[in-house]
Assembly symmetry: C2
């Protein structure tokens, strides 16, 4: 594979090249992993930077409708928008949240938009790595905004927040004045809470719900990365396309303030450092996945199961044998 | 340290030697880890086997009172009982659930009982390893029953169930006929649900709660490791010491059936295999904790944070450098 040529077509904004590159980073094959690392290294030099927006919303809050309306508003302003998904459940369902593209078919057909479903992976760690590499590819391809969405299963909100510059929580109007069981930890990650469906019969409920969340946000500890007034709660209607421009203005204001005050760069630096540590750990553990290591583990696992040796002693033997022959390439 | 001598005093039933050995397995020092592995390897030959009983109960259900009453009943029958704790929160609180020994001071003073508080560890993986090694030490020291208790924070119930032959859930009588928000996953691990406080004013409530749980258990999928009638719900009163003998009879019947039908040995074999895999992974990752590796990670982490290199490329460099010089001992 000609990585230099691929990097150039990506930099030139070729969507098919971008899609091919994402397929490459999603591959678990060792030679693909190497090629992907090389490609990302090359593309990092472009210096291009998108606004990375994380978005979490459970099924039923109208996330697809929101992304479509919000994305089309941005492309209408001449911006290029990429949408990626982190969906830890897709491995189980075999599908993916964005797999059903008809759910945002206008955005999908927009030449200034790029939509990519979640990679099917057995564990969230794998999805996380592939998604943040896909984010890097989208940035190099010249997208101005990269939306990273998740349904918020298990740890996926944390994973998305850790690869975003801004983190949005999309919520539905709640009956009564009770909050919708949003976990405190998720609330603490949010920069902007958007209460969707502020239209028709639900408009008043949405306004009340928004006030409740605004109150809840005020009770949270002040974060150094927030200008006065943030985190903030607002109402939007994805269907009526109202409030989207105001929400976007708030996102831009927040991003601008963070850039000015050094928080933007600092957060990215810390994120990159965290990814590096994860990469090292994963690369180290990958040594147990070679055919030789698997065979050795299986044999020693049998001896441990039969009580012939203790787990720690057998483990020491595996490590010794992994070191014994010079690593094969 | 003379590991052979230590193993002999443990086999002779010396409680101080056992306590010292547990301190050894709790240590993170490399030489201590090696000595601990050697000690456990030596002791494994004893062939002694305790009944490992996992017990989960949130604060307020009367867990300490139950363990004291249950433990004293067992020692009264001539059995030797060890109590270990898995408490992932102890790292934060600085304390440990069994730290306050006055909560079971009769049992603590019983020469046939051994009580050990939870090791303070920053992560559950570390606590898990040290606890299952402590279980192995207690078995070799001739304890007939090893009780492993947890407050059930996060994943700790799973960790305890995975090192137990039987798993008990201690619950409190619930007002109304609603179940106490016991997660389905926890319910599915239980072999015996004990509704405590079946005494005084709460007796009827406890009976009703027990019936509710019995109904809930019947709705769960049948597991191959269960004889007819299991999993089962019962009432007990730790304070009045009622129902404890019946609960113990059920545990013995279940353990007997599982031994007869091969489930007991099969479960232990699979547990040992799982520990072995965890040991290998942890031992591999420990290579990143040497002073040299830490310095390298810090330096490359800085370069990644400053955008001078990509996470995956920097990770590849770490791996190459870890391999470059022959491993130092």
């Amino acid at each position: 594979m000609d990585i230099t040529a691929l990097s150039e077509t990506i930099l030139a904004g070729d969507r098919r090249a971008l899609a091919r590159a994402i397929t490459l980073v999603e591959s678990a094959r060792a030679d693909h992993r190497e090629a992907a690392a090389e490609l990302i290294g090359l593309l990092a030099r472009s210096g291009r930077e998108a606004l990375r927006i994380g978005l979490s919303g459970t099924p039923g809050v109208g996330k697809s409708t929101f992304i479509e309306a919000f994305g089309l508003m941005l492309t209408g302003q001449g911006l290029r928008v990429a949408v990626l998904a982190v969906d830890p459940s897709s491995a189980r369902s075999g599908g993916s949240i964005l797999g059903d593209k008809t759910r945002m078919d206008h955005l999908a057909r927009d030449p200034n938009a790029f939509i990519r479903p979640s990679p099917s992976q057995t564990h969230l760690g794998g999805v996380a790595r592939r998604t943040r590499e896909a984010v890097a590819l989208c940035e190099a391809a010249g997208y101005d905004v990269v939306l990273i969405e998740t349904v918020g299963v298990g740890q996926s909100e944390t994973v998305v927040a850790e690869m975003s510059d801004l983190f949005l929580l999309l919520l539905a109007p709640a009956g009564g004045d009770e909050l919708q069981g949003v976990k405190r930890g998720i609330m603490e990650m949010a920069d902007l809470i958007l209460v969707n469906k502020a239209d028709g019969a639900l408009k008043d409920t949405a306004t009340r719900t928004c006030a409740d969340y605004a109150g809840a946000l005020r009770l949270l500890r002040k974060r150094p990365q927030d200008p006065p007034g943030f985190p903030k709660a607002m109402t939007v209607s994805a269907i009526e396309e109202t409030g989207l421009d105001k929400a976007w203005a708030e996102m831009q204001a927040l991003a601008h303030w963070r850039r000015e005050h050094g928080h933007f760069a600092r957060r990215r630096a810390e994120q990159a450092r965290g990814w590096f540590v994860q990469e090292v750990r994963q690369a180290l553990l990958a040594r147990l996945e070679t055919p030789e290591a698997r065979a050795l583990m299986a044999a020693l696992g049998d001896r441990v199961a039969q009580g012939e040796t203790a787990p720690a002693l057998a483990a020491a033997e595996v490590l010794a044998q992994l070191d014994a022959p010079p690593p094969k390439r």
